[in-house]
């Protein structure tokens, strides 16, 4: 490999962190017996085949020193035999990495749709002066941190000490944590984790002990105890899967009509069957735990409260699809869930539930835990593949689909966290019983992430078919007067109060032109700043677009600009031309973006416009606009009368 590196060299600390990570991650050390650096070097294919270690290596050095210096990037490039420009390209792809010197403590304050209006901005207002001039800590605005039920949320990213989350956070508690003494042993992180011990905050249903399927062990078992897990019925599903054999497990899944909960609702049984039947080896399994859709936190609650459940479900998936390694890709902003899973994987390994001979059943399976680093796009399955392989998380064109050519070009089953917990339920009660709840493609139960203006935000598990009104009642009803509900997240759309009796099924949502998406139910009352929310959503997509394809890269920028002009009531041309532009952009993005991000980036915005939720100057009232949109209603902003004819 011809590597042309600059003369920048790593510091001792950076070198140690990188070398230690490499020694741990690369199973074969590059030097062989008898290698003398000046006489014989083994490199070549072996050395060039470790690109997939790039992201973990960057994490290792970033965790240690808090930023990625040119010297550190050079050393990573040399160690992995990856061109430095590509290392830089990957390093700068992720929001949690900095290639500029930065304070060792970074406070990520969520200012996204669920947190911004619920205290996030106040925290920022306090941190701005509070950390001004500090060299030990700094703060940044962050997209959704997946702690919406506990808004406002803050993530403390710390070099040389464990990361921790605070939610609900107060300005003073955040400042205190940012200025706390060094915490190399992780005591502060443990204390922060302990604040999440009461699971009834995140999953209020666990208080009442009512019949739950997916959440049944959350708050019941000690998430650190494998014995506890087994006592609560753990590993019965895997035992049953082994008894049935892969073919009959797939048959059960098909009987259950289980569909993927990641948003695309593809039949899980069909996906696993395709992978299992593809002759090319090896097969791969991926659990997509890169839960980043604004307003979504259900997977986090499952992983924090019942980590062994995910490990068991992945083991079943590996057994059925013939994959010996499962890659568990968890978003980088989930320190507690990551710790819980790390511990659980280690415990399962120690007890023979992972390894060369799982449960003595003669098949091998292990889990490779991968942390994302702040990139919404990596939740897109092919972007996730690129990310694991050590490239920028830019989605691939499909076909080929991952089930036939996925990770490293091999057949790959990619499943959402919630789907995998559903697999446990299918095996526990049988496919037919599972299918008896709900109907069509919507069988079994579904988790919803209810947040915003409701009495008791949290993850709620309801049978498919429950209406939106029933769900809101379950969550303590609306606080204030209900204005609208954002269903499905930033990539979803708005539902008006008149549609509250819509059954929450894939089919029911489609009927009213909405989508369940990742199960987001974000409630807005009449006091909410919807225009601000839409701009935040538009800014989110602009920021998270990977930039690979033009419709999304340019479209998300222009969409945000047009919304900003509408908000300022300073349209170019008239308000109608701006709406026509948004409509145009939406169609181009939907039709020609490579992946779901670009295709859904205009969803919420267009839905708001169609439903008349966007603020409009009063002078335009009366009659539909030239594009046939329902006319936007006026919501208190008074037009200044100078909008048109610029």
């Amino acid at each position: 490999m011809d590597l042309h590196l600059s003369s920048a060299s790593p510091t001792e600390g950076e070198r140690e962190a990188i070398d230690a990570a490499f020694a741990m991650l690369a199973p074969t050390v590059p030097e062989r017996d008898g290698d003398v650096a000046t006489r014989s070097v083994h490199a070549g294919h072996a050395a060039r085949s470790r690109r997939h270690l790039l992201l973990p290596m960057l994490h290792a050095v970033h965790d240690a020193v808090g930023w990625l210096s040119e010297g550190a990037l050079n050393h990573v490039a040399r160690t992995l035999q990856v061109p430095p420009a590509e290392v830089y390209g990957v390093a700068t792809f992720y929001a949690m990495f900095s290639v500029e010197p930065r304070a060792p403590r970074v406070v990520h304050v969520c200012d996204d749709v669920a947190c911004g209006p619920f205290g996030g901005e106040e925290i920022i207002a306090e941190l701005e002066p509070g950390l001004d001039g500090s060299t030990d800590a700094c703060w940044v605005r962050s997209p959704c941190l997946g702690l919406c039920e506990r808004a406002p949320a803050v993530l403390h990213q710390r070099a040389g000490e464990p990361d921790l989350s605070q939610a609900p956070a107060t300005p003073s508690s955040v400042l205190q944590a940012a200025q706390a003494p060094a915490d190399p042993t992780g005591e502060q992180a443990s204390a922060a984790d302990h604040a999440f011990a009461d699971t009834t905050v995140s999953a209020p249903q666990t208080r009442t002990g009512e019949h739950l399927r997916l959440l049944r062990r959350v708050g019941v078992v000690d998430p650190g105890s494998l014995d506890d897990y087994r006592a609560a019925g753990g590993y019965a599903a895997l035992r049953r899967a082994v008894d049935l054999g892969p073919t009959r497990v797939i048959a059960e899944l098909k009987d259950a009509s289980l569909t993927g909960r990641g948003g695309a609702a593809f039949p899980t049984g069909v996906k696993w069957e395709t992978v299992a039947a593809t002759p090319e080896r090896p097969h791969h399994l991926i659990c997509n735990a890169d839960e980043s859709e604004p307003g979504t936190f259900k997977d986090r609650v499952l992983m924090e409260g019942d980590p062994f459940g995910l490990i068991e479900a992945m083991t079943i998936a590996g057994y059925v699809t013939g994959a010996t390694t499962g890659h568990l890709y968890i978003r980088g902003e989930y320190p507690l869930a990551t710790r819980r899973l790390q511990d659980a994987i280690a415990a399962a390994r120690a007890r023979g539930y992972l390894g060369d001979d799982v449960m003595g059943e003669g098949f091998a399976f292990d889990i490779d835990l991968r942390r994302g680093a702040g990139a919404y796009i990596c939740g897109e399955e092919t972007a996730l593949l690129e990310s694991i392989e050590g490239y920028r998380g830019e989605p691939r064109n499909k076909p080929p689909f991952p089930a036939t050519a996925g990770l490293f070009g091999k057949p790959t089953a990619i499943n959402n966290v919630e789907t995998l917990y559903d697999v446990l339920e299918v095996l526990n009660i049988g496919g037919q019983a599972f299918a008896s709840v709900g109907g069509g493609k919507s069988t079994g139960s579904k988790l919803f992430c209810v947040s915003g203006a409701v009495g008791t935000p949290g993850v709620y598990e309801v049978d498919f078919g429950t209406t939106l009104r029933e769900l809101l009642d379950l969550a303590g009803g609306t606080r204030g007067e209900l204005r609208t509900v954002l269903l499905g997240g930033a990539a979803g759309g708005f539902v008006m109060p008149s549609d509250l009796d819509t059954p929450l099924t894939l089919e029911g949502a489609r009927e009213i032109g909405a989508t369940l998406g990742s199960g987001v139910v974000l409630v807005f009352d009449t006091a909410a700043d919807l225009t601000g929310t839409l701009r935040r959503i538009a800014a989110f997509f602009r920021d998270e677009s990977c930039g690979q394809c033009v419709p999304c890269r340019v479209g998300t920028v222009r969409q945000e600009e047009a919304l900003a002009r509408l908000e300022r009531d300073a349209p170019i041309g008239s308000r109608e031309t701006e709406l026509a532009l948004l409509d145009d952009l939406a169609r181009v993005m939907r039709d020609s973006s490579i992946c779901g991000l670009g295709q859904t980036a205009p969803s919420a915005v267009m839905s708001a416009i169609d439903l008349g939720l966007i603020a409009a100057p009063s002078r335009n009232a009366g009659g539909p606009d030239s594009n046939g949109h329902a006319h936007p209603e006026v919501n208190g902003h008074s037009g200044n009368g100078h909008g048109g004819g610029r």
Binding site: D2, D35, V36, T38, R39, S40
Partner: protein
């Protein structure tokens, strides 16, 4: 190879080889076009072994690099051969059917145990063993080499040592397997093919071949062609020294800079009665000449053919008129012949080529200009106009019928002999010459152009050697061999190791490297031992370093 002076394989076969050994070759820089094929292979899974004293940019692509001491290649090759024999990995049926002399070979390599080879070469025994096994087990394997093999006082023996390995394993005459000497320029192969080798007539016929000579004489209609081989370059200089050679006509060669022990060579050139230099630039040799004949750059200012390392003959076309009085080489030569009273006329390039075709019956006879145009070049041998050319040579060795198989290929046992220029306390550092991506030999063709990669010429050496000698990076030093002494700045180079230093031959105006090199030459090929010079390196005192 086996009587035909050319590589056995087409370039493209490198893309389909399972294993490639680049031996004494930094092809990444010196043969970038060929290396593209290698890279194509690598991306498809081809394993690459690099045998080179330096950890070159080629070695950095290799699965395994064997960093042997300069001049110990035969010991390494013999040890590999012995290991293959002892591991039972010899291709028995090929050896028995298509080769001769195996027993002698086996006897010769027997003393070259892995341990002894490690002692001689410095390469760990385990790495040697690994290469032996990988090479012998590969379905398709090539050995490619360049000047690291051929610039030694016993260069032909080096080549034999490698050929022996191919015979031992049957890695020759089959697609993807072969022996590939990489030529330094676009037409080194063609020059040899056209008779610029003292023992050969155009088309590869030996001068001692009476029948061939008679055919050439009939066409050339001049004086009888001598049946004794002529002198090669190194012999010419020795003849000058003895006073037997007094006049020299030098075409496209710059011996006043490129010869080993160049100070001595220059004295000999200056002592000639008459020196004619025909070149595209006013070279250092031209400075010494009595007559300079300005030649056109035939690759763009005239037409003809070139032959590359895979024996492919290709057309060259004129794009520009030559400047000033410069004229094509053939025109100059024909005019001289005409003035000397022989009617050579003024033939076109195609007429010259067709004359060659009329005598080179086996290699070139079927290569009309029209066919060269139509096929984008043809690989020799191409004996008839309906012959497609021969991408792969020596496939005959695999024929089952003895008649088709023809002559068996002989093993040529060779022994390790260290370089002539011994390392001693007075001359403790091994200096070798290396080449860069953007330059050719003495720089006649490349020195005039700017390159973003160009650095001033420096003595490249290992950092620990420099520390030991108290030399800072960039400092000017004196480098002294048994023949001469030069001054140069130092550049620390991680591709080298303690005891090894290097110069390029490209920038003789900056550093006259061949004032140091040894003119000991190989009796079989006539090549001097540019690759192994013993030197000492001394500080110039505390004077600040000036730009080279």
């Amino acid at each position: 190879m086996f009587g035909a002076g050319g590589g056995t394989s087409a370039y493209v076969e490198a893309e389909n080889a399972d294993l490639i050994v680049l031996w004494g070759s930094n092809a990444r820089e010196t043969h970038p076009i060929f290396f593209h094929h290698v890279l194509q292979g690598i991306s498809g899974g081809t394993r690459l072994f690099s045998v080179d004293p330096r950890h070159t940019s080629t070695a950095q692509w290799a699965d395994s690099w064997l960093g042997l001491d300069v001049g110990t290649d035969i010991a390494l090759a013999n040890a590999i051969g012995r290991e293959i024999i002892h591991a039972g990995l010899v291709n028995r049926s090929f050896v028995e059917r298509s080769t001769t002399g195996f027993d002698d070979y086996a006897e010769t390599v027997e003393p070259y145990t892995l341990e002894r080879a490690e002692e001689i070469t410095g390469v760990p025994a385990s790495s040697i063993r690994e290469l032996a096994h990988a090479y012998a087990r590969a379905d398709r394997a090539q050995i490619c080499w360049t000047l690291g093999i051929t610039e030694h006082h016993n260069a032909a023996d080096y080549v034999f040592a490698l050929i022996n390995l191919a015979l031992l394993t049957g890695h020759v005459g089959r697609y993807g397997s072969g022996l590939v000497p990489l030529r330094g320029q676009n037409n080194v192969q063609g020059g040899g093919d056209m008779g610029a080798i003292p023992a050969k007539l155009p088309g590869g016929y030996d001068v001692s071949d009476d029948e061939a000579r008679a055919r050439f004489e009939a066409v050339y209609r001049g004086k009888p062609i001598p049946s004794e081989k002529g002198m090669h370059l190194s012999e010419m200089f020795e003849a000058m020294e003895r006073g037997e050679l007094n006049a020299l006509y030098c075409i496209g060669e710059n011996p006043a800079e490129s010869e080993a022990n160049v100070v001595h060579a220059r004295q000999l050139l200056e002592g000639l009665d008459h020196l004619v230099v025909q070149d595209i630039f006013r070279t250092a040799t031209a400075e010494l000449a009595d007559v300079v004949l300005p030649a056109s750059a035939d690759w763009c200012e005239y037409e003809g053919t070139v032959t590359n390392s895979e024996r492919r003959v290709q057309r060259v076309r004129k794009a520009l008129d030559p400047p000033g009085q410069a004229r094509p080489d053939t025109h100059i030569i024909c005019d001289i012949a005409n003035r000397l009273g022989h009617d050579w006329g003024s033939p076109t390039a195609e007429q010259v080529w067709d004359e060659l075709r009329s005598v080179s019956l086996n290699w070139h006879h079927g290569m009309s200009y029209a066919r060269l145009d139509a096929l984008g070049g043809i690989q020799w041998p191409c004996p008839t106009e309906d012959h497609p050319g021969t991408p792969l040579m020596h496939a005959r060795l695999w024929e089952t019928e003895p008649e088709k198989r023809g002559n068996a290929a002989p093993f040529t046992p060779v022994e390790h002999v260290p370089p002539v220029d011994e390392l001693t306390d007075d001359y403790p550092i091994r200096l070798t010459t290396v080449r860069l991506l953007d330059a050719y030999n003495s720089g006649v063709q490349t020195g005039g152009y700017a390159s973003p990669l160009r650095r001033r010429e420096s003595l490249r050496m290992d950092a620990s050697d420099a520390t030991r000698l108290g030399i800072a990076d960039g400092e000017r030093v004196r480098v002294t061999s048994r023949r001469g002494s030069v001054e140069a700045p130092v550049a620390l180079d991680p591709s080298l190791r303690p005891g090894l230093a290097s110069f390029t031959p490209h920038f003789t105006e900056e550093v006259d490297v061949n004032a140091l090199t040894n003119d000991a030459w190989d009796p079989k090929s006539g090549t001097s031992e540019f690759k192994a010079t013993a030197v000492r390196i001394e500080r110039l005192g505390s004077l600040p370093a000036a730009g080279g």
